[in-house]
C-alpha cells in the first residue's frame, strides 16, 4: 500500500546539507497499523511527510498503491492527497471555523454539495463521539476533543490511508488511550491503513501490528511489534523497551542479592501461560524466588520477563535451568 524504495531526503540550509532520511526502504501493507518510533531528530517526521509529498524525496521513491506521487501533476497530486488523511501533534484546526466547519473543510475543497457535506459531517461527528460539539470553536475543546475533530476532518474525504504525526504526544495518558482506541477503530471498522510516528513506546504497544525503529535518518530495525519488542537487536530499540518496563530493579534493591546468581526468564506467547517454572522447580525440589518482572499483553499475545533466583543444591538448579532452556529463554543476570 505504501512503499518506500531507497528513499533519501536531504535539506539544504546555509550551504550545508542535512540528511533527514537516508536510504529508507519499508513496506506498509493494506490494513496495517504501522508505527515508526524514534527519538526526536531521527527523521520520522520527514519520512511521514514524504508519503503525501509535503516533502519531496531527494532520491528514491515513495509508492502509494504502486504509483509514485511525484509522477502526478500538481492538480492530480491534490486529488491524490484526499486519499491520504493526516492528523497532527498540535491538531492544526482552523481557529476561525467551528468543529462542524473544520470537518467540512476538505469536502468544501473537493466541491461536494452542501446537503451531502452536512450529512457526512453529522456522520463523522457521531463516529468520533462529538455530535454535541458541532457548533463549538476549537478553543472551547480539550486536547483529546481537538484530536477527535482532527481525525474526523482527516476521514471526511474517505481516505484509504491515515498518517499520524505524533498524534498523541500532546495529550495526557488517559486521553492518549482514548485517541489510540479511536485510531484502532478507524483501522478496524473503516479498513483504513494507518502509518504513525511516535516517540512513545506505549503507542506502538497499544495499537501497532508492525514497527520500524529509526535513528539518524535510517531504519535500524523493523518487523512485527511482537518480534521486535520481545527480541530487540539494536541498542536503540532496547532503550525504547526499557523506557516502558524497567529492565532491572534499581542498584539499591539489587544489592540485597549480591552473592546469589540471578536469572532472566523470557516467556513468549503460549509459553507464558504454561506452568513451566512451577513444574520444573517442583520436580527438582528447588525453591524459586521471583524478584522482579512483568507479564504483559503485546499484540494479543503474552510476553513475560522475570528476574528470579533459585535456592537449592547447585546440581538441581542446573537441572531446572536445563529444563527451562528447552522451552523458554534463560539468561544470567550480571549484578554490577
Amino acid at each position: 500500500m505504501i512503499e518506500f524504495r531507497n528513499v533519501t531526503k536531504t535539506f539544504q540550509t546555509k550551504g550545508q546539507a542535512i540528511t533527514a532520511v537516508e536510504k529508507v526502504s519499508l513496506t506498509v501493507e493494506a490494513g496495517d497499523i504501522f508505527g515508526i518510533i524514534g527519538f526526536s531528530g531521527a527523521g520520522k517526521s520527514t519520512l511521514l511527510r514524504l508519503v503525501n509529498l509535503l516533502e519531496k524525496p531527494t532520491e528514491g521513491e515513495v509508492l502509494i498503491n504502486d504509483k509514485s506521487l511525484t509522477d502526478y501533476t500538481k492538480k492530480e497530486l491534490r486529488q491524490q492527497r484526499r486519499d491520504i488523511g493526516m492528523i497532527f501533534q498540535n491538531f492544526n484546526l482552523f481557529t476561525s471555523r467551528t468543529v462542524a466547519k473544520n470537518i467540512a473543510y476538505p469536502l468544501e475543497l473537493a466541491g461536494v454539495a452542501k446537503a451531502e457535506i452536512k450529512h457526512k459531517v453529522e456522520e463523522l461527528l457521531r463516529f468520533v463521539g462529538l455530535s454535541d460539539k458541532a457548533k463549538h470553536y476549537p478553543e472551547q475543546l480539550s486536547g483529546g476533543q481537538k484530536q477527535r475533530v482532527g481525525i474526523a476532518r482527516a476521514l471526511a474525504t474517505s481516505p484509504r490511508i491515515l498518517i499520524c504525526d505524533e498524534a498523541t504526544s500532546a495529550l495526557d495518558p488517559n486521553t492518549t488511550a482514548d485517541i489510540l482506541q479511536l485510531i484502532q477503530k478507524v483501522n478496524k471498522e473503516l479498513g483504513i491503513t494507518v502509518l504513525l510516528i511516535t516517540h512513545e513506546m506505549q503507542v506502538i504497544e497499544a495499537i501497532c501490528n508492525r514497527v520500524a525503529v529509526m535513528e539518524e535518518g535510517r531504519v535500524i530495525e523493523s518487523g512485527t511489534v511482537f518480534d521486535t519488542f520481545t527480541n530487540p537487536q539494536h541498542a536503540t530499540t532496547k532503550r525504547f523497551i526499557s523506557a516502558t518496563e524497567q529492565d532491572l530493579p534499581s542498584a539499591h534493591l539489587l544489592e540485597k542479592w549480591s552473592g546469589s546468581q540471578l536469572y532472566r526468564l523470557i516467556f513468549k506467547g503460549d509459553k507464558a501461560s504454561d506452568p513451566l517454572l512451577s513444574q520444573a522447580t517442583r520436580k527438582h525440589q528447588v525453591d524459586v524466588n521471583i524478584i522482579y518482572g512483568t507479564v504483559k499483553e503485546l499484540q494479543q499475545r503474552f510476553f513475560g520477563n522475570l528476574i528470579v533466583s533459585f535456592e537449592g543444591e547447585e546440581q538441581k538448579i542446573q537441572a531446572v535451568l536445563q529444563e527451562l532452556r528447552q522451552a523458554i529463554e534463560v539468561k544470567e543476570v550480571a549484578i554490577a
Binding site: 492527497r81 491520504i84 493526516m86 497532527f88 476561525s96 474525504t157
Partner: protein
Amino acid sequence: MKVDWQTFWPRIVEATGQTLTMVIATLIFSTIIGTIIGLTLFATRKGGILENRWVAIILNLGINIIRPIPFVILLVALMPLTRTVVGTTIGTAAAIFPITIAASFVVARVVENNLISIDPGVIEAAEAMGASPLQIIRTVLIPEALGPLVLGLTFVTVSLIDFSAVAGTVGGGGLGHIAMTHGYQRFDTSVIVVTVVILIILVQLAQWLGNTLSSKILRR
C-alpha cells in the same frame, strides 16, 4: 480676520465630509491593493506556498523604498502621476490617489506581519487536504488572520486620517485644508481647535469600531 462661526459651521461640516470621503475611499483602495501585495509577499517568501525569490525581493525592495519617504514629499513627488491618473492635483479626488499609494504599502506590511503569525501547521494541514495555493489564501490565510488584520487596518485608518489632513494642506480639501487656511494662516486658534477636536473624535470612532469588529471576529 477671524471666522464668523454663524456662517462657518457649514464649511466645517462640508470639510468633515471631504475628510471622511478621503479616509473611506483610501481605506478601501489601499486595503485591496495592500492585501494583494501583502499576500503575494507572504506567499512568495522562502518556504511559502508560492515561493518565488525574485518576486519577494522586488516587492520587499519596493516597500522599503516607498515607506521611509515622508508623506508630504511623496505627495509632491507623485503630482505628475496624479495629474495623469486623476486629471488634476487639487481637491479631494486628487488627494485620494497619493494617499492610496502611501497607505497600500503600509497595509501590505500589516497584512504580511499578520499572516506570518498564523500557525504554519494549519497551512500544512490545508495542503495535506489537497488545497491549492489560491484556496489556501482564500479559505485559510484570510479567515485565520482576519481578527488581528482588522486591528491592523484600524491602525492604518488612524494614519489615513492623519494623511488626509496633510493632503488637505496642499489643496486636498477636508479638515486639514480648513485648519491650514482659516486657522493657521489667519491666526484663528478657534478653527484649529475645532478641526483638531473633530479629527480626535474621528480617530476615537475608528478605533472603537475596529476594536468591536475584531473582538467579534476573535470571539473575545
